[in-house]
Each structure stands twice: as structure tokens, then as C-alpha cells.
Amino acid sequence: MKEQAPARLLWMVAGFAVWSSAFIVLYSLQGLGCAYGWPDPAYRLVLFAVLGLHLGAIALLFRRSRERLASGFLRPVVELALWAALVATLLTFAPALLLTACR
């Protein structure tokens, strides 16, 4: 029955939950850094590190989803959503982090 627990539905939103977390953390750090004038090279490296952590989290979700989800309706949908989240995280943030941070 555990295989069918309703909480497994959360796998569908797991990837984009990580994307949301990346959005909130990066946007907040960008605001804080600009408000308090954090020095640029270190500041930017921190932002990239945060992005890297989130991409890693999605990669981990891929691995775990394959271990925990049986084949059926949910697994392919979760995989598609994870791919979409991975691409969205990369495209939303990676180019932006190269731009001017505070102007």
C-alpha cells in the first residue's frame, strides 16, 4: 500500500519545488547583496554555488524517483516534470547570474 500512498503525488511537484526554492534564495541573496554592497566576485560565486546546489538537488530527485516510483502513470509524468524543472532552473538562472547584479 505504501507504493500507492497519496503523498507520492508530491513527486510530481518535487522538481519545480526545487526551482521555486532556487528562485526565492537567489532573488533574496541578490537583494541582500545589493542592499549591503557585498563584494562582487565572492557574491557572484555564492550565487552560482546556490544554483549548483539546486541543480544537484534535482539530479538527486531523478535518482530517487527511479528507485522509489514503480512504473505506471506517475513515473513517466514525474520524469517529464523533473526534466522540465532541470531545464527551467538552468535557463532561468544561469544566464542571469552573468549580468550586472545591482544596477
Partner: protein, 846 residues
């Protein structure tokens, strides 16, 4: 327990007519004035749609007045003040009183029929939501007659909507009225989430759900997460206007831009909340007219998930010109571009469905064509305004007005009309004549493009939005004339559609079952739908758009499915396990009642009292409404244990009062997600002002005090522990009342300590910092108060025998509430302790 005549009879002995009469006696809404007590999904869904249609007509008339004013330069038709009220009301009516309620009505009307259920999860809550919508909408619209309609634009930007610049009640009408209406949206969204996850036909697993249910599940969750920031923003702005708490006032540590953030965190997902259900209608219709099952079902579901999230990462693309740094702008710009991808997946899935099928042409397809043409154009201009450099040029011009209408009318009104003509035979029981549907379409299509394509051009020529007149030498005049002529043609188109509907209702022939050969469950019920929808409930063994409604309909009408009998005069449907789709409970609905109407009317009076600044009356109204909710709860549920009840096909499941995963439990979790989003938005507001606003640090810090905070944490934890103790005692067959009494004591202690903390704060009108702390601590007090209501209700219901070792639902709900109150309270108290430490850092901002 009593069973009526057919109960237990073999299927062949059942009489469909007798079953129909028995079900109608149980589910019928009653004649005349008794209809006002109806809680039936078909009645309420239709009521939502008709009311939304009336508001659409009002919004349309306002649009015609706008076009009449702008058709010539220096027009003396309207003055600036009246024009401001009219364009504000046009946007407000169309967004809040037409689009959202219309999609709610459609979903409420259709989803039980598509999913093989007899009603939505919470009929009384649905009725309450409807009355809130009607009363709130009426307050907003009637304000125009008294010359006090909102006049700061449908997005109510501060400082224009702040007290110094809008001293009248106009903005209050919007803030209070819209918040009132949004109660309806949130209650409806909660009902839909629970209905989709828990109340489907047995066997209907997630992968077999009709695709429209997926669209509505995502939309409802977006409403749950998207509306709370605006509700919070409206409460904060009303608190500033009425009581002087300066959340948005830069002279006292507030920020005008905070409003824009809170509004657009709601406002952009709102656009998708409107579009997604409409796309769901198309995904239901396209396979029928393509004569091929929907291609890419799983990809569409994944795209919807992506859609739901990405739409929340776009809000600041309405704020490109506010000085946000390039890096942050790029987050929003890139997310805005990415959101095109899930939209495209759906459009390509429809095209692939047509390519694989044998398409046939009919009136709904005409409107589908209109959607594709107009929405794709709106999507393309959407990509244009998602690009920062272009948007800087087009911002606040008529180009944006054109884009918005192409997206919303293309993305919502045309699919809605396609759906209208598709489901008309189901709703009325009459076959469509389509005499005027085609000319109506062409008038709307041509009129729409003439009206709004011109606005791209006036916008590119620099015509700003929201101006009531223009000198006439800018080259805008002829484009505006054409636009206004287009508006007239568009209006004629809608008039023709109305005439067509009247002819259909009067002269339409009786429709046969499944006239489009649809293959979904909605066509397996009687036409027009009976109050109970399904005489018996089907078992689904295949995807729910691949069934044979004609054969299935006959079997179900004969009572050969689940619940093919009546029992105790109960309104019954089946609840299922969320993922396996197997029946796990009989849901017994409360009977129709005037209570939703009376409660909503009392809320309406409370809102009016706030509008007229009669605050003692408003406070009294608040307590009366609280008492009403406790009173309403006293008649719900069952007074005795029943154990598993036979449901047909040799299966038996317990009533929902004895089930492990009862719908109210899921509903409370969903409601708490919305509640938590309000809290998160409030904490965000506090930190945003600390980080961005001028005039920080505050003259006096709002310190909660370590001792009161520690005592409050202890009382919160004790209240939560008492709720657990009561539940455990009841589970053992013991008496939970001592634990309930202790919980009431702990709750009273929380409210007392919260009161003491509030009394010790600096004047919340002095600065945004104490104002934020005031609201945060007040949030704990409000939740402790609601917890007390739960506990009083528990005690009363235990005495009235509604609770037992098996029937523990009430106490499980209380436990969830008290746990949330404790966790959120502790988070808030930590923030309250942290803010005074952080506030002086604001001095270090460059």
C-alpha cells in the same frame, strides 16, 4: 438504518423510474423560494455561470462607454473622474467577477459529471462561496450608481489608492469587496482540490482521470497559492487606509512597491488561472472533433505542473520599469519566456490529435479556430513584452492593453464559447440549432480583431493607458475610431449569441444521449442533468475519455452501478483512495440549507459595516459569523457508528465519518496551505520593507519581550498537546472533554499573552516595523481564537453523540489546526524576536 423499496433487490428487479423518483426526493432542490437553500452542484454551478454572465454584460457595457469616450479626441462625453471609475470597474468586473467565477461555475457544474460523482465535496461551502461572490460583486458594481466606485485602476496601485490621494471610500470598496469575493474563490478552489482527489468514480486512477480534472486541479492549487498574497495586500492596504498602519507609506518605513509585488504575485498567476481551465475545455473538445483520443496526455499533465510553477516566477515582468536591477529582471524575463513552452506543448498536442484523427467541422470547432488565431497572436506579443528592452518602450501603453485582451479574450472567452456550444445539449436537454452561432462567431471574431489590433498601433504610437482623452494631433484618432467601431461589432456578436441561446431554449429539439459521440462520463447522465447526476455510480476500467456513454448511461440509470439504492434518505456518493482509485468511504452530504445564505449575508453586513466605518458593528458581525460556523457544525455528521456499508458489486466501505482519509481532513490541509501563504506573504512584507524601504531603522523597536514570548510558546505547545490528548482519549473510548477543557484554557492563555504583547508594542501607526509585528502577533491571536471555536464545537458535538472512538474526525481536525497554530506561532515569535536585531542593520544600507 432504513432501506427503501429497491434496496437489496437483484439488478434485474430494479425499477429505474422508482429509483429516479427516490433520488429526486432526496437530492431535489425544492420549488420556488426553497431554491435559495440549494447546495447542489448543478444548481450552484449554473448560478455561478449565469451571475458571471450578467457581470460580463455589465463589464461589456462599461467597455462600450470607454470606447465611446475614446473614439474622438477631447470628447466631452465623460469627465476624468467618471472615466477613472468606469475603466477601473471594467477591469475589476472582468477579472474578478466574470472570469474567475465563470471558470469556477463551469468546473463546479462539470467536474462531478465528468468524474462520476453525485456532487462536489462540500456543498454548503460551495453555496456559501456563491453568496459571498454575489454579495461582494454587487457591492462593487452598485458603488458605481452612487458615484463611489473604485477609481485607481484594477490593480489599485499605491500611492494613488492610498488615503492622501484617494480620500473617499472608492478604494475601500475595492479592497473590502474583492476580499469578500475572494473568500468565494478560495472556498471553491479548496472544494475542487478535494473533489478531484477524493470524489471520483471507483477505478478512476489518476492516469484515467478526464484531462479537464487535471487542468482544474492545477488551477485550484494555483488559486490556493496565488490569491492569499492579494488578500494579505488588501488587508494591509485597508489597515493603512482605515487605521494608519503604514505598510506602503515611504515616509514611515513602508514601500509603495511592496503593493506591486503582493498584487502581481497574485496577478500574473491569475492570467494563467483564467487560461488553464479554458485550455482544459479545449483538451476535452479537441479529441471529440478529431475523433481520436488526446495525444500526449502525460506530457500535458507534466506541462501543467510546469505551467503552475513558472507562472509564479513571472510577477515582476509587470514591474520592469520600477528600477529592479538587471540580474533580477533577467530572472523574470527568462521565466516569462520559458512559460511559452508548456503552452506550446498543449497546442502541439491538440494539433497532433487532429493529425492522427479524422477531424470533423462543427460550431465548437469554429470557436476553437478563433481561439488559436487570437491566442497565438496574444502569445507572440506576450513574448515581445517579456523582453525587457521592448517592454520599457511599450510599458503602460495601449500595446499592453491589446496584448492583455488578445490573451484573455482569446485564451478564455473563445474556448468558453466553444465549451458552451459543446455542452449546451447536456445542460438544456435540447439539440443545438446553431442558426445564429456562426454569424455570431464572425461578428465577435472580426469585431475583436478590429477593436484590439488597432490598440497595438496606438500603443506603438505612444498612446498611454488609462487616459480619458487626447488632444488629437498624435495620429491616434482614426485608429481609435476603428477600434470603437470594432467594439460595436463585437457587442453585436455577443448580442447575436444571446439571441441564439434564447432561440435554443425556446425551440431546440430534444437532444439524444451523447450527440457529439464524446466518450466521457458527462454524456452518460440524463439530459438536462438530474440533481443527483448519476442514478448509480460507474466503475471505470479505462481512461475516462474512452468509454461508451450510451451503453453505460442505460446501465447506470437502471441502478446497476455503485450506490444503486437509496438509504436512510441520505445524499450519498463514494469517496476513493487518491492514487489507487478504489472506494474507501461513503460520503454522506448534509441536506440543503439556508445557513450558507444567512452566513454570507451576515459576512456581507460585516463588510458593509467596515465600509461605513462602523467598526463596533463589524466586530459584532465577526463574532456572530464565528458563532454561525460553530452552530452550522452541530448538524453535520452521524450520531452513531455504522461500520462498513454495502455499496453494491459486493463491496462495503465505512461512512466518511469513520474513514481514515475523510475529505474535511484534506480540505483543512489545503486551507492551511492558503493560510500559510498569507503568513509567508506577511513575513515577506516585513523583510521587504526592512531591506528596501526608506526611513529605516524605526524610531522605536517593537520587541516582543523574551518572557511573554516564552510563555506564548509554552501555551501554544500546551494547546497542541491537549488536542492530541483529546484525540487519544477518544480513540481509547474515553471521555475527551477534560482534554478539551484544558485546551480551551491553553487557548485562552495564548490570547491573553498575545494581548499583552500587543499592548506593549510601540504605536503601530508610527512605522512599518511595529505595524508588521502588530499584524504578525495578531495572526497568532486570531488562530488561537479559531482554535477555541474548534474546541467549543468539539465539546458540544461530543455531548450530542457525534463523536465516538470510530468517529474521531472532529478531533483530528482540531489537532491539525492546533498543530498549525503552534508551528506558525513559534515561527512568528522567532521572527518577532529577530526583527529588532535586524532593524538597525538597515542603517548600513548604501
Amino acid at each position: 438504518m432504513t432501506r427503501e423499496k429497491d434496496a437489496g433487490a437483484p439488478p434485474e428487479a430494479r425499477d429505474p423510474i422508482r429509483l429516479h423518483k427516490a433520488l429526486t426526493r432526496i437530492w431535489g432542490a425544492g420549488p420556488g423560494r426553497a431554491r435559495l437553500s440549494s447546495t447542489n452542484h448543478s444548481v450552484l454551478g449554473m448560478r455561478f455561470m449565469i451571475t458571471a454572465g450578467v457581470f460580463f454584460l455589465i463589464g461589456g457595457i462599461l467597455a462600450m462607454i470607454i470606447r465611446a469616450q475614446l473614439s474622438t479626441p477631447q470628447s466631452a462625453f465623460l469627465g476624468a473622474e467618471t472615466y477613472s471609475q468606469i475603466f477601473t470597474l471594467h477591469g475589476t468586473v472582468m477579472m474578478f467577477l466574470f472570469a474567475i467565477p465563470m471558470l469556477e461555475g463551469l468546473a463546479g457544474y462539470m467536474l462531478p459529471k465528468l468524474m462520476g460523482a453525485r456532487d462536489l465535496a462540500f456543498p454548503r461551502l460551495t453555496a456559501f462561496g456563491y453568496w459571498c461572490y454575489l454579495f461582494g460583486g454587487s457591492i462593487i458594481v452598485l458603488s458605481l450608481l452612487f458615484g463611489v466606485a473604485p477609481d485607481s485602476g484594477w490593480f489599485m496601485y499605491v500611492p494613488l489608492s492610498s488615503k492622501p490621494h484617494s480620500p473617499g471610500v472608492n478604494s475601500d470598496v475595492w479592497l473590502l469587496g474583492i476580499t469578500f469575493v475572494e473568500i468565494s474563490a478560495l472556498t471553491f478552489a479548496t472544494t475542487l482540490v478535494v473533489s478531484i482527489l477524493k470524489i471520483r468514480a471507483p477505478g478512476m486512477t489518476l492516469g484515467r482521470m478526464p484531462i479537464f480534472a487535471w487542468y482544474m486541479l492545477v488551477t485550484s492549487l494555483m488559486i490556493i497559492l496565488g490569491f492569499p498574497p492579494l488578500i494579505l495586500g488588501s488587508i494591509l492596504l485597508e489597515a493603512e487606509r482605515a487605521f494608519g498602519l503604514p505598510f506602503f507609506d515611504p515616509t514611515r518605513g513602508g514601500s509603495a512597491l511592496l503593493w506591486q509585488h503582493l498584487f502581481w504575485i497574485f496577478g500574473h498567476p491569475e492570467v494563467y488561472i483564467i487560461f488553464i481551465p479554458a485550455a482544459g475545455v479545449l483538451s476535452t473538445i479537441v479529441p471529440v472533433f478529431a475523433r481520436h483520443p488526446l495525444v500526449g496526455y502525460r506530457a500535458i499533465v507534466a506541462a501543467l505542473v510546469a505551467f503552475g510553477f513558472l507562472s509564479f516566477g513571472i510577477w515582476a515582468h509587470h514591474m520592469y520599469t520600477t528600477g529592479i536591477p538587471h540580474m533580477a529582471l533577467a530572472f523574470f524575463s527568462l521565466a516569462s519566456s520559458l512559460v511559452v513552452v508548456p503552452t506550446a506543448i498543449q497546442i502541439f498536442a491538440w494539433l497532433a490529435t487532429f493529425a492522427h484523427g479524422r477531424p470533423r467541422w462543427d460550431v465548437p470547432m469554429l470557436y476553437l479556430f478563433g481561439f488559436l488565431w487570437i491566442f497565438v497572436m496574444g502569445g507572440l506579443t506576450g513574448v515581445m513584452v517579456a523582453m525587457v528592452p521592448f517592454d520599457l518602450q511599450a510599458h503602460d501603453t495601449h500595446f499592453v492593453v491589446a496584448h492583455m485582451h488578445y490573451v484573455l479574450v482569446g485564451g478564455f472567452v473563445f474556448p468558453l464559447l466553444a465549451g458552451l456550444y459543446y455542452w449546451l445539449p447536456l445542460a438544456t436537454g435540447r439539440a443545438s440549432r446553431f442558426t445564429l452561432a456562426r454569424p455570431g462567431f464572425w461578428l465577435i471574431f472580426i469585431g475583436f480583431n478590429l477593436t484590439f489590433f488597432m490598440m497595438h498601433l496606438t500603443g506603438l504610437l505612444g498612446m498611454p493607458r488609462r487616459v480619458f482623452t487626447y488632444p488629437g494631433h498624435e495620429g491616434w484618432m482614426w485608429l481609435n475610431v476603428l477600434s470603437s467601431i470594432g467594439g460595436m461589432v463585437l457587442t453585436m456578436g455577443f448580442a447575436v449569441i444571446l439571441a441564439d441561446l434564447a432561440l435554443h431554449a425556446r425551440f431546440g429539439r430534444r437532444a439524444r444521449r451523447d450527440p457529439w459521440e464524446g466518450g466521457t462520463l458527462d454524456w452518460a447522465i440524463p439530459r438536462p442533468p438530474t440533481f443527483y447526476a448519476f442514478a448509480s455510480l460507474p466503475r471505470i476500467e479505462t481512461r475516462a475519455d474512452r468509454i461508451d456513454p450510451r451503453e453505460l448511461g442505460r446501465e447506470l440509470a437502471a441502478g446497476e452501478g455503485y450506490l444503486g439504492d437509496t438509504r436512510n434518505g441520505w445524499q450519498e456518493t463514494l469517496g476513493i483512495h487518491v492514487t489507487t482509485g478504489e472506494a474507501d468511504q461513503v460520503i454522506i452530504f448534509p441536506r440543503q440549507s439556508y445557513e450558507p445564505l444567512v452566513t454570507a449575508a451576515t459576512v456581507g453586513l460585516t463588510v458593509l459595516a467596515m465600509l461605513f466605518k462602523l467598526y463596533p458593528v463589524a466586530v459584532a458581525g465577526f463574532f456572530v459569523v464565528s458563532a454561525m460556523f460553530v452552530f452550522r457544525a452541530q448538524s453535520a455528521g452521524l450520531r452513531e457508528d455504522h461500520g462498513p456499508l454495502p455499496i453494491g458489486r459486493g463491496e462495503a466501505v465505512p461512512p466518511h465519518t469513520e474513514a481514515e482519509s475523510s475529505p474535511p481532513l484534506l480540505a483543512l490541509v489545503v486551507a492551511l496551505v492558503a493560510d500559510g501563504t498569507i503568513l509567508a506573504s506577511l513575513i515577506y512584507a516585513g523583510f521587504y520593507n526592512w531591506l528596501v524601504a526608506a526611513n529605516w531603522p524605526p524610531p522605536e523597536l517593537a520587541r516582543g519581550g523574551l518572557i511573554p514570548v516564552t510563555l506564548a510558546v509554552a501555551a501554544l505547545v500546551a494547546a497542541s498537546g491537549c488536542a492530541r490528548g483529546a484525540l487519544a482519549a477518544l480513540g481509547r473510548g474515553g471521555n475527551p472533554v477534560p482534554w478539551i477543557g484544558a485546551g480551551i484554557f491553553a487557548g485562552l492563555a495564548v490570547t491573553g499573552i498575545v494581548g499583552a504583547i500587543l499592548a506593549g508594542l510601540p504605536d503601530p501607526r508610527s512605522h512599518a516595523h511595529p505595524a508588521t509585528v502588530f499584524m504578525l502577533v495578531g495572526y497568532i491571536g486570531l488562530h488561537a481564537y479559531v482554535g477555541l471555536l474548534f474546541l467549543v464545537s468539539n465539546a458540544l458535538r461530543y455531548r450530542a453523540s457525534y463523536l465516538s472512538a470510530r468517529r474521531r474526525l472532529d478531533l483530528r481536525l482540531t489537532r491539525v489546526w492546533q498543530d498549525y497554530t503552534a508551528v506558525s506561532g513559534i515561527v512568528i515569535l522567532l521572527v518577532v524576536l529577530a526583527l529588532p536585531a535586524l532593524a538597525p542593520l538597515a542603517e548600513g544600507r548604501p
